[in-house]
C-alpha cells in the first residue's frame, strides 16, 4: 500500500496513471479500499473508487464504456458528497448524459428541468435517481451502449473533454485533486484485456487526473502485452501473496516461518474468532496451509467453523448435551484439508501432475507461457513468490499434500 500511495503522490501531469494487478484472493480490492480511505483522510484527494461491474456488463466492457462509467461515477460521487458544482456546468453535464443515453433522453431532460427548478426544494435525491437510472440503462440496454461506443470510438476526445470538465468542476469546488480507482478490470478475459489495454490504452491514459486501473495478472505472462503496457506507464504495481519462507529455506526440515508474516495472518484470524476456539499449533498449521493467500486462509478457517457448527447441530438434534466443548482441533482441520484436496484433485490429468512435480523440484515451470501452467497458476495450484529480485514458484501446500498422498512426492 505504501508503494501505491507513494506512486500516487509522485504523479505528474504527464504521468498520472497507475496499473495494479495481483493474483486472485491476495487482497487487491481490500488494499485498494484501504488506500482509498487513507487518501481521503489526507483531505488532499477527491477519491472515487468503483467496480466496473457496477456499471457495465461483462460482454460490453471496452475503453469507451470504461471512460463513460468514469464520468457517471464522478458525477454521482459529487452529488453524494454534496459538492456544489456551478449550476450552468451541472446542467450541461446532465444534458450531455441524458443525450447519450438516447432512448430516455426526453424524460432525462425533463428530469433535469424538474430537478433544476426543484433545486430549492432539495433536488439532490432527484439527481441521484437520475444517475442511478443512467447506470441501469448502461448496464442493461445493449442498444444504447453500442451507440455510445460507436459514437465515441470515432471522437474519443469529446468524451475525454467531458470527463476533464467534470474533473475541473469538482477540483474547483472542493480544492481537492481527483483520483479515480477502477476495480475488477482484472476479471476480464485475456482477449478483452488485450483489446482494452494494448490496442486502446491511449484513451485510458488521456484523462488529466490520476487513475488507478486494475488489470488481469495474466497480462504479466504475455510478453508482448506486458511490454505494450510498460511502454506507456512507468511500472505495473503487483500485489504478491504472503510469503512465509524464502526459496533457500522452504524445503528445509528445520525451516521457521517469517514471524512478521505469521503475525499478520494471526491477526486476520483473531479478528474473526476468539483464541479459545482454536489451538495455537492448529492455527499456525492453518495459516501455513494457505500458502500465503489470504482468501484461502479465510476459506480454510470458515470451513473449519462450518464443520464445528455441523457437529454442534448434530449434537443438538441427538440431544447429546454432555459432549466436550466443540473447537477447531486437528481432526476438524484434517477433514477440511482433505475436502479441499479432493476439490483440487478433480480437474487434474497426468500431464498436470508431471508439471506440478517439475515445479516442485525446480521452483519454476519449463515454460511460463504454457497455457496449462497459467491455468494452474490462476487456479492457485501453483503460487508465485519473490525473494528480492528472484521470482520463484512453489506448489500450494494443499496440492503438495495431495501429491505426497498419491506417492508422487516424498514427504519432507
Amino acid at each position: 500500500m505504501d508503494e501505491l500511495e507513494q506512486a500516487i503522490e509522485d504523479c505528474t501531469n504527464q504521468d498520472n496513471k497507475l496499473i495494479f494487478t495481483g493474483h486472485r484472493g491476495c487482497g487487491k480490492s481490500t488494499l485498494l479500499a484501504e488506500l482509498s480511505f487513507r487518501l481521503v483522510e489526507t483531505q488532499r484527494y477527491f477519491v472515487v473508487m468503483f467496480s466496473i461491474s457496477d456499471t457495465v456488463d461483462e460482454s460490453a466492457v471496452d475503453h469507451v464504456n470504461i471512460l463513460f462509467s468514469m464520468a457517471i461515477q464522478l458525477l454521482e460521487a459529487a452529488e453524494q458528497r454534496n459538492v456544489k458544482l456551478k449550476p450552468g456546468i451541472k446542467n450541461e453535464l446532465y444534458r450531455w448524459l441524458g443525450k447519450h443515453t438516447k432512448t430516455e433522453s426526453d424524460s432525462a431532460e425533463a428530469t433535469i428541468e424538474v430537478n433544476t427548478e426543484a433545486g430549492a426544494k432539495g433536488g439532490i435525491p432527484g439527481f441521484l435517481e437520475f444517475l442511478a437510472k443512467i447506470k441501469s440503462i448502461l448496464k442493461v440496454n445493449s442498444v444504447i451502449r453500442e451507440e455510445i461506443t460507436i459514437e465515441f470510438a470515432r471522437k474519443i476526445s469529446d468524451l475525454i473533454a467531458q470527463i476533464n470538465l467534470i474533473q475541473s468542476a469538482i477540483e474547483n469546488a472542493t480544492g481537492q485533486e481527483v483520483l479515480v480507482i477502477i476495480d475488477d478490470l482484472d476479471k476480464l478475459s485475456l482477449s478483452d484485456a488485450e483489446t482494452i489495454f494494448t490496442k486502446n490504452i491511449q484513451p485510458l491514459l488521456a484523462p488529466s487526473f490520476r487513475v488507478v486501473y486494475t488489470i488481469p495478472v495474466a497480462i504479466l505472462r504475455e510478453v508482448s502485452m506486458k511490454r505494450n503496457v510498460e511502454a506507456y506507464v512507468k511500472k505495473i504495481h503487483t500485489m504478491r501473496v504472503g510469503k512465509f519462507f524464502t526459496k533457500a529455506m522452504v524445503r528445509s526440515s528445520d525451516r521457521i516461518p517469517d514471524p512478521e508474516m505469521l503475525s499478520f495472518f494471526d491477526q486476520v484470524l483473531e479478528k474473526r474468532f476468539p483464541k479459545s476456539l482454536i489451538d495455537p499449533v492448529i492455527q499456525q498449521e492453518m495459516i501455513l496451509k494457505s500458502g500465503g493467500v489470504l482468501r484461502e486462509l479465510i476459506r480454510i478457517a470458515d470451513s473449519c467453523c462450518d464443520l464445528c457448527m455441523q457437529q454442534i447441530r448434530r449434537q443438538s438434534r441427538l440431544e447429546k448435551f454432555d459432549q466436550p466443548f466443540v473447537k477447531i482441533d486437528q481432526a476438524v482441520l484434517t477433514s477440511v484439508l482433505s475436502d479441499l484436496q479432493i476439490s483440487y484433485a478433480q480437474p487434474l490429468g497426468q500431464s498436470d501432475f508431471d508439471t506440478l512435480i517439475g515445479i516442485y523440484q525446480e521452483f519454476r515451470p519449463k515454460d511460463t507461457e504454457n497455457q496449462r501452467f497459467r491455468d494452474l497458476l490462476h487456479g492457485l495450484y501453483v503460487l508465485e513468490y519473490r525473494d528480492s529480485a528472484v521470482q520463484w514458484y512453489d506448489l500450494n501446500p494443499i496440492v503438495k499434500d495431495l501429491l505426497i498422498q498419491e506417492g508422487l512426492l516424498d514427504d519432507g
Binding site: S53, D54, E58, I342, G349, Q371, E406
Partner: protein, 310 residues
C-alpha cells in the same frame, strides 16, 4: 449403493447446516448432482426444514439469459419480506439445461458461456444478497466453473457433491430423451460445420450413454469428442474427455485386438481417497475372450514350430 446413500446423507447434513448458519451473509453454495430426482428430493427436504426454522425458501430457474444476479434482484424487487432482510434461502436450478451450442450463429456466446460470464462478472453485484444461495449444477458444469468462472469459484462458500443413488426407470428415460435431443442437435451442428458445438454434443451424448450403461458407445463418443477438441486446441476439454474415458475403461477392459479401435491415452491419476471414481472388475465374458485369444495364439505358435522343424 449404501456408500452413496451414506455419503449423500452427510452432504445433506452439511448443506442444511450451511443454510441455517449463513443467514445475513452472502454464501454461494455450489452443489453438484447429476441425478435430478435426487436433487429435487434434497431441495424439497431442506426447504421443509428451512420453513420450520423460519427461513423462507425461494427458487430461481435459469433461463436464456442465465444471470444469477438478475434472478435474485427480480425476486427481491417483488418481495417485501426480502426487502426487509427476512431470513431466506435461494435455490437455483436450470444450469443443466443451458445449451452449449449457439442456436443462432450470430450470437457471441452460448447459454452456458453466458452463465459463466455472468457468474464471473457479477460477483461484486451479489454482495447485496446476504443469503445462502444454493446453486445446483452437474458434475461437468462444476468442473468447468472452476476454470471459466474462477473468481466466482474463489468466492464460493462451499462445494458439495451428491452421488448417483439409483439407475431406475425414471433416470433411464431421462437420459434416453436427452440422448435423442442431442442427436438431433448434432446433425445440425455437423451441417453448419460447427466443430466446437459438435464436440460438445458428442461429449454430452457420451455422458448420457455412460449413464445408460452403453459403455462401448459412450467410449466411442468420448473418443470422437476428444479428437475434435484436440484439433481445436482445447486442452482442458481434452483432459475432461481423458478423465471420462479413464473412468469408463475402469469398468470395461481394453478392447479386443481384432476390429475395435484402440482407446485414447488414459490419465494415470485417480485420487485414492476420492468418492467419485468407481472401479469395477472386468466382465467375465471379456476374460473368456482373452483366454480364447491366448489359446489360438498357442496353437499358432505350435504349428509354426512344427512347420519349421519338420
Amino acid at each position: 449403493m449404501d456408500d452413496a446413500k451414506r455419503h449423500n446423507e452427510e452432504m445433506y447434513d452439511r448443506l442444511i447446516s450451511l443454510i441455517e448458519n449463513s443467514q445475513g451473509r452472502l454464501a454461494p453454495i455450489v452443489v453438484a448432482c447429476d441425478d435430478l430426482r435426487l436433487r429435487d428430493r434434497m431441495i424439497g427436504r431442506y426447504e421443509t426444514e428451512a420453513r420450520q426454522a423460519k427461513i423462507r425458501p425461494y427458487r430461481i430457474v435459469l433461463g436464456k439469459e442465465p444471470s444469477l444476479r438478475s434472478g435474485l434482484a427480480k425476486l427481491k424487487e417483488q418481495d417485501e419480506y426480502l426487502q426487509n432482510d427476512g431470513e431466506a434461502v435461494f435455490t437455483v436450478t436450470g444450469a443443466e439445461l443451458l445449451l452449449r451450442v449457439k442456436l443462432n450463429p450470430q450470437e457471441k456466446q452460448s447459454e452456458i458461456e453466458k452463465f459463466f460470464g455472468y457468474l464471473q462478472w457479477s460477483r461484486e453485484g451479489l454482495r447485496e444478497f446476504r443469503y445462502p444461495i444454493v446453486l445446483w449444477v452437474t458434475a461437468p458444469i462444476l468442473r468447468e466453473m472452476k476454470l471459466r468462472a474462477a473468481d466466482f469459484w474463489s468466492w464460493r462458500k462451499a462445494e458439495l457433491r451428491f452421488l448417483d443413488e439409483s439407475n431406475d426407470v425414471y433416470l433411464v428415460g431421462q437420459h434416453q430423451r436427452a440422448f435423442e435431443s442431442y442427436q438431433q442437435s448434432l446433425e445440425i451442428r455437423r451441417k453448419i460445420g460447427d466443430q466446437s458445438g459438435e464436440a460438445d454434443l458428442l461429449l454430452m451424448m457420451a455422458d448420457s450413454l455412460a449413464k445408460l450403461n452403453h459403455t462401448w458407445e459412450a467410449l466411442q463418443h468420448y473418443q470422437q469428442a476428444r479428437q475434435i477438441y484436440q484439433e481445436l486446441g482445447l486442452d482442458f476439454k481434452v483432459e475432461e474427455c481423458d478423465i471420462a474415458i479413464y473412468n469408463l475403461e475402469a469398468i470395461i477392459p481394453d478392447p479386443p485386438i481384432l476390429g475395435v479401435p484402440k482407446s485414447a491415452t488414459r490419465p494415470n491419476y485417480v485420487p485414492s481417497e476420492s468418492r467419485h471414481y468407481v472401479r469395477s472388475k472386468p466382465r467375465r465374458h471379456d476374460r473368456q475372450k482373452i483366454l480364447l485369444l491366448c489359446f489360438v495364439l498357442g496353437i499358432a505358435i505350435a504349428l509354426l514350430i512344427w512347420f519349421l522343424t519338420r
